[in-house]
């Protein structure tokens, strides 16, 4: 595979309909030169990358519904000079800034907290920013998260994921706030410890994408949303009545009982949240809860 460079830009500007003014001509000339410089720069970078001793080949999924040449999904190869400590996200940014500015992916914090850049890298859901290239076999295959609709290149539609997150009433509810506005609700260290891992979710969607059940059942709440429910159901500061209500949500037809404990969510979670365990614990809570009424 050769290094991907953008298609050759037209050398001649389009003929203008009306006689251009001198100023227009100068501007057009300047732009033509800028475009030529840009082209040269990209070609040089491609050459450098080829010559560099240590390069990594990325095979990146491409798709754009609006651009005729890119309507049909394909993979592009990019050769990126490797430096120690380089992540998949660094490599994607290098490819975009150097070879093809239309290469599209979400990213922001590049420190594993914003959850924007969950990708399917070498067949596994990972955050681009916290995956070291040195840990991967070449060529590094970068694809959008499976089981989600692709908007463009590596960007997937997250709406369904957000809808499922919001379906579990993901907000603290209690009727028992202390009287004073400066008084806190007490919470034991043990209880905070119990919910701690569940509060670390960054909504990246890796778990949902890895889940076979979610792939087959569009209504299944999914590991992230159930974990969110766990975060509140296990918080001792919420009262018993609301816990009851929460268990009803997670016990519904497309709730916890759909989980078949395949552990794929737990395996891919970039924040090490024991998702499968949380789902099992809620199943047990649900059973205990029902027993009370028999």
């Amino acid at each position: 595979m050769s290094t991907q460079v953008p298609e050759t830009q037209e050398a001649e500007p389009e003929a203008e309909e009306q006689a251009p003014s001198k100023g227009d001509q100068r501007r057009a000339e300047r732009r033509r030169k800028a475009a030529a410089r840009e082209q040269e720069r990209q070609e040089e970078a491609a050459e450098r990358a080829k010559e560099a001793e240590d390069t990594v080949e990325l095979k990146v999924f491409r798709y754009d519904p609006e651009v005729p040449e890119k309507e049909k999904p394909r993979f592009d190869s990019f050769h990126v000079p490797f430096e120690k400590g380089m992540t998949v996200l660094d490599a994607l940014m290098y490819a975009r800034d150097t070879y093809d500015s239309s290469l599209t992916f979400r990213h922001s914090c590049r420190q594993a907290i914003c959850g924007s850049d969950a990708l399917f890298v070498n067949g596994r859901q990972r955050l681009g920013c916290k995956t070291q290239l040195s840990d991967l076999d070449e060529p590094v295959r970068v694809e959008p998260l499976p089981h989600q609709e692709v908007v463009k290149d590596l960007v997937v539609d997250m709406e369904h994921f957000y809808d499922q997150m919001e379906a579990v009433e993901p907000y603290f509810q209690t009727n028992e706030l202390p009287d004073g506005e400066l008084d806190e609700q007490r919470q034991t260290r043990e209880n905070r410890e119990k919910i701690k891992m569940s509060t670390r979710c960054i909504w990246c969607g890796a778990c949902m994408s890895s889940c076979n059940i979610a792939a087959g059942d569009n209504q299944y709440l999914g590991p992230a949303a159930i974990n969110k429910a766990y975060r509140f159901a296990m918080d001792e500061r919420e009262g018993e009545d609301i816990k009851q209500q929460r268990l009803e949500i997670i016990e519904q037809e497309h709730g916890v009982w759909r989980c078949q404990t395949q552990f794929s969510c737990t395996e891919v979670c970039p924040k090490d949240i024991p998702l499968t365990e949380h789902i099992q614990e809620l199943k047990r809570e649900a059973v205990k809860n029902n027993l009370k009424f028999w």
Binding site: R31, V67, G85, R110, I113
Partner: protein, 616 residues
């Protein structure tokens, strides 16, 4: 056109708090954000929230520490508002269920932080920002507040009276990232900017890639003055390879800094004989770079931060996140080895000038959070003071925008009251370089040069939409330079010349580089022709904002010929209170930055904060 009472731009801590507050006042409020709210950079904050909650502490002590930390460039009315309201706002978060770290008795934990006379930093492990952001987003969901996510606000719709103080903001123009639609958002009551900081002006920063200072740049070009832009905080402990932040909490818990010789240099080389590692951030950053410059750095680049002696249990309990960061981004096991650290751009003390109610001099335009300058941080922000700023001023801006009477602010905005005209000797003409589709005057002047004060609010928004469509069409239809080259040039120059240490020649060189980048930007072009999720276009627009803010930071740094807080000047090694107890203001006057000054307000509610030597 979309229409709401209050439009909040940005969905980090300040934006979410503003939206909740506006809704509680009965306003129909919507958020426009270029990310989804949970992706906002507030989530990356680690340390904590300063709030005087405990016996033995008081808001007055917090205010004193903040004024001292600011090197007497904070405005007392804003600082006192912050410190008085922080306890109630922090407890509000607790009542919304935020998972704070807890003491044995079940109360929220507090810990020591740099520059504080009491351990008043309330925290949730080393992930306080993440917990705060998610807790507030949950409340947004609960209230059903409308969010236009992945909509990038690119221009304000402001009427164009000659004096900014007479103008009115009627809304914003935003770009739907998913579809490419450009639309107007009319705000019947007010627009709150909460777009965060401009960290991407630098190439070594703890800030997210999305932190391009959009709100500050938009407000600046629409006529709102920007304040104290030269004061950029460099955090002393960032990972050398990426700029990822290692919380001040590590030093708060007892982490120690060593140089290559294994010396505890904060003490052994006399940088801060009392506070040591817990001196203020500017002091520690300079100490580290001095060690490196004098040949005592490791690999001539960084120093070591050691937390091994704290023990595994304490580290896991309070700093677990740091272990993951050090391992994932630097390949270092913090339990076994010291972590490499060096200073990196972290926070902008300056921003859009506001009063203590979050209001700018343009009627109906508000700013809160890092994009605003109230000013509570003056020349240097204390660790743990950014998060209370978000919630306190986010709330106030939201309330005021929705129409609540918060009383008359003591801080005056715009060219009102006492101010002084300034001059700066620049090697090149700063400011706009004309070009097609430029945004020299976001809503400032009508295209035909005529007055448009007669326009209805709807027409004002429509006009801004038309201007923005013209700009975007121009960017997309021509051929030319890629924004990435221009952005990289500015970032490199800023990191080299407008960093922790600043010299006059370097600052002038930075201005020349920025001018060259401006000229190159005349030919900037978007090569991706798609209207779907065109990040090339977004980054091209962002780059324009980076240019304007880089210039503002450098101009401010050049004009302030003294050493105060985070602003160090080689030629001026002392704080000059007789000349410089004043804010550096910049106004965008038809494309030319105009420098002027406003005196700092040191008179508090019942005391005046007398400037003292700032030692730690």
């Amino acid at each position: 056109m979309y229409e709401h009472d209050v439009i909040v731009v940005g969905a980090g801590g300040a934006g979410l708090r503003a939206a909740i507050a506006a809704q509680e006042e009965g306003a129909d409020v919507a958020i426009v954000t270029k990310l989804h709210p949970v992706r906002s950079h507030t989530g990356a904050a680690e340390g904590g929230i300063n709030a005087a909650l405990r016996e033995g502490d008081s808001w007055k002590d917090h205010a004193y520490d903040t004024m001292k930390g600011s090197d007497y460039l904070g405005d007392a009315p804003a600082v006192e508002t912050l410190c008085k309201e922080s306890p109630r706002e922090t407890m509000q978060l607790e009542h919304w269920g935020m998972a704070f770290s807890r003491d044995e008795d079940g109360r929220v934990s507090q810990r020591p932080f740099g520059g504080l006379s009491f351990p008043r930093t309330t925290y949730a492990g080393a992930e306080t920002g993440h917990q705060l952001l998610h807790t507030m987003y949950e409340q947004l969901v609960k209230r059903g507040i409308e969010v236009y996510d992945e909509w990038y606000a690119t221009r304000l719709a402001v009427s164009d009276e000659e004096r900014p103080e007479d103008r009115r903001c009627h809304g914003v123009v935003a770009y739907d990232i998913q579809s490419g639609e450009i639309a107007g958002f009319r705000a019947r009551k007010g627009v709150v900017l909460a777009t965060g900081g401009p960290g991407q002006v630098y190439d070594h920063t703890t800030n997210a890639v999305s932190n391009t200072g959009d709100g500050v740049a938009m407000a600046y070009r629409a006529g709102a003055p920007i304040e104290d832009m030269e004061f950029i905080q460099f955090h002393p402990t960032t990972l050398p390879s990426t700029g990822v932040l290692i919380s001040e909490g590590v030093r708060g818990e007892g982490g120690i800094l060593y140089n290559e010789n294994g010396e505890r240099f904060m003490y052994e080389h006399g940088y801060a004989n009392n506070a040591g590692e817990l001196a203020s951030r500017d002091v520690v950053s300079r100490a580290e770079l001095t060690e490196v410059n004098q040949g005592r750095g490791i690999e001539d680049e960084y120093v070591h931060l050691d937390m091994r002696h704290l023990g595994e249990e304490r580290i896991i309990d309070r700093l677990e996140n740091i272990l993951h960061l050090a391992e994932d981004f630097e390949g270092v096991d913090g339990l076994e080895e010291p972590m490499p650290v060096k200073p990196g751009q972290h926070y902008a003390m300056g921003g859009v000038e506001t009063d203590e109610n979050g209001e700018t001099c343009i009627t109906g335009l508000y700013a809160a959070g890092e994009c605003a300058c109230a000013s509570v941080h003056g020349a240097n922000r204390l660790g743990g003071n950014a998060l209370p700023e978000l919630i306190v001023f986010g709330k106030r801006a939201g309330q005021h925008a929705a129409g609540r009477d918060l009383g008359t602010a003591r801080i005056e905005t715009g060219k009102r009251g006492e101010y002084e005209v300034g001059e700066v000797d620049t090697p090149v003409q700063p400011g706009e370089v004309g070009g097609p589709g430029d945004v020299a005057a976001d809503g400032g002047t009508a295209p035909d040069g005529g007055a448009t004060a007669e326009l209805t609010p709807d027409e004002c928004v429509e006009r801004a939409v038309t201007d923005e469509r013209t700009r975007v069409d121009a960017l997309m239809s021509r051929e030319g330079t890629n924004h990435a080259t221009i952005r990289a040039k500015v970032q490199k120059s800023m990191t080299r010349f407008v960093n922790v240490f600043r010299e006059e020649d370097g600052l002038k060189q930075a201005l020349r580089d920025i001018r060259e980048a401006r000229e190159a930007y005349q030919d900037v072009a978007v090569s991706d022709p798609s209207r779907t999720f065109n990040t090339d276009l977004i980054q091209t627009i962002e780059t324009r904002n980076i240019l304007d803010l880089a210039e503002a930071i450098t101009l401010g740094a050049l004009v302030r010929d003294e050493f105060r807080g985070a602003h160090w000047r080689a030629e001026h090694q002392e704080r000059k209170d007789e000349n410089w107890l004043k804010h550096t203001m910049l106004s965008w006057n038809e494309g030319t930055p105009e420098v002027w000054f406003r005196p700092v307000i040191l008179e508090g509610e019942d005391k005046t904060y007398e400037p003292k030597i700032r030692s730690y």
